[in-house]
Amino acid sequence: MTPLVLAGLVGASLVGLGLYGLILHPHPLRKLLAFNLIGNGVFLVFGIVARRGAAAGFRFDPVPQAMVITGIVVAFAASALAVAIILRLSAESGRVTLDPEAWTKPNGGDAK
Amino acid sequence: MLLDVFSITAISAGAFFFFAGTVGLLRFPDSLTRLHALTKADNLGLGLVALGLLPRADSALSALKLIVIWALVLLSGASTAQLIGRALRRSRK
């Protein structure tokens, strides 16, 4: 089993683990963590595609690696935005949840 | 040949210290004692590993970089351990 296939299978299992956590956890920040796991799994798949594309004298294909670097930074930016929205939502509704029912049963938070 | 033996012994000693630190993390009863075990053993372990890698460095500059890495880990590890210890002491009062 070459390291490439191994890394690809690790990426696939990370996507599966992340999907499981995303669906199951009720806490929004845990969902965000699981979503980041999915993203990392996808990046690993990109990585093995990059390594397999070794040609023209390089040991790797630089284009997928550049995309992964871009992707990691954009994923962080998206996580930061999600965190800000989650914090504001929890502050307004008083409950730490993504359940839309939270707005019909407000629990002490009032609009600032 | 002699350098290889030196590298292997130093890195094995470093690995042993990391192992000892992990055993302390798992077996000590208290957060403060675990913190003590981790910082002391891990800093020493990293120092031995860096020492073992010094003969294998490509140039004097890479050897210097290894030592700088060890110094930086020492610095941040010590400060972080102080902060965690402070937080632990505050939370148990």
Partner: protein, 317 residues
């Protein structure tokens, strides 16, 4: 008789194991700590895939700054007094979700085992770009980022700024213009101050080195910018500098300087080198480094602002 295959297998098992504890952990803090450790191990996997630039970015941004973001978020959520968490879902739902996750993972694994052979590659075109517009750059990834796919990189900087604007907009209307909430308690602790005063100068030097050497060796603007951002965050956490007001002019100039300089040179390429985002051949490397310097500034300004969050009202306002 090489030991590397065993290292690879051990690394793979460790990564999947720590990811599982991240998903299955009891509370948020344990999950985030597991995620940071998992990110550092993932950097090892990237090294094994011959991707040192990606490993640097993963360790700095993917695991480091994201960990700070999530721990800060968890602390702020824990501070909400009326927070009541939801109930856990039923067992049948868990089994169904597990089956779906296994199906997706299996499909992806099958696709990986059946990848086309010989593998397609964009490396020849990237090499042509590295010799052409990105002339003189020894690091092919920097050449791809800054000349072959330069529009992508500029748009990514714009995405960072959009995220900052989005995070700022989430704050309440009355607080617009003031500074975000503090990252730590207002009282400075001695170890933190010591760390900031000793680590920050070294960190800034290393960050500039990583950015500068990214032209010919693993490194680059993103990694250097993330390190600079981390040093600024350490200084702010030690209360040696205050969080800036979001309507501060210098902050806004620093944020937009990256994509602005990029765009100016891209438009100038229309006049000097014949097409949008082309660089004149003899000046390519200095221009690329000049643009990257402003990108580093922009990233170093954007990442801490993303972690700090929306502006909050001060009691004295």
């Amino acid at each position: 008789m090489s030991i590397l295959p065993y290292v690879d297998i051990g690394l793979a098992l460790l990564v999947v194991g720590i990811a599982s504890t991240t998903v299955a952990a009891r509370d948020l803090f344990a999950a985030v700590v597991g995620y940071v450790a998992y990110g550092l191990l993932l950097a090892f996997v990237w090294i094994r895939l011959y991707a040192p630039d990606v490993a640097l970015t993963e360790a700095a941004v993917g695991s480091g700054v994201t960990g700070v973001l999530l721990i800060t978020a968890g602390k702020r959520l824990g501070a909400l007094k009326n927070a009541v968490p939801d109930a856990q879902p039923a067992l049948a739902f868990k089994l169904l979700a597990g089956a779906l996750a296994a199906l997706v993972a299996g499909a992806l694994g099958a696709a990986i085992l059946l990848l086309p052979d010989p593998p397609p590659s964009l490396a020849p075109e990237a090499a042509a770009a590295a010799d052409g517009a990105g002339a003189g750059l020894g690091n092919p990834i920097t050449a791809v980022l800054m000349s072959y796919r330069s529009v992508d990189t500029m748009l990514e900087k714009l995405v960072l700024i959009l995220a900052v604007v989005g995070v700022w907009s989430v704050g309440s209307d009355k607080a617009w213009g003031s500074a975000p909430a503090e990252l730590r308690q207002p009282k400075a602790t001695a170890p933190m101050v010591f760390l900031a005063q000793t680590l920050a100068p070294v960190g800034v030097l290393i960050a500039i080195h990583i950015f500068w050497t990214g032209a010919n060796a693993p490194g680059g603007a993103f990694q250097g910018g993330a390190l600079l951002a981390a040093m600024w965050m350490v200084i702010m956490m030690a209360q040696l500098a205050k969080l800036p007001r979001i309507d501060a002019q210098w902050l806004r100039m620093a944020l937009v300087s990256g994509p602005a300089v990029f765009l100016i040179f891209g438009l100038a390429g229309e006049l000097t080198a014949g097409s949008f985002f082309a660089y004149p051949h003899s000046l390519a490397k200095p221009i690329i480094l000049f643009i990257e310097a402003f990108m580093v500034l922009s990233i170093a300004a954007a990442l801490p602002m993303l972690v700090a969050g929306p502006p909050s009202e001060r009691p004295d306002q």
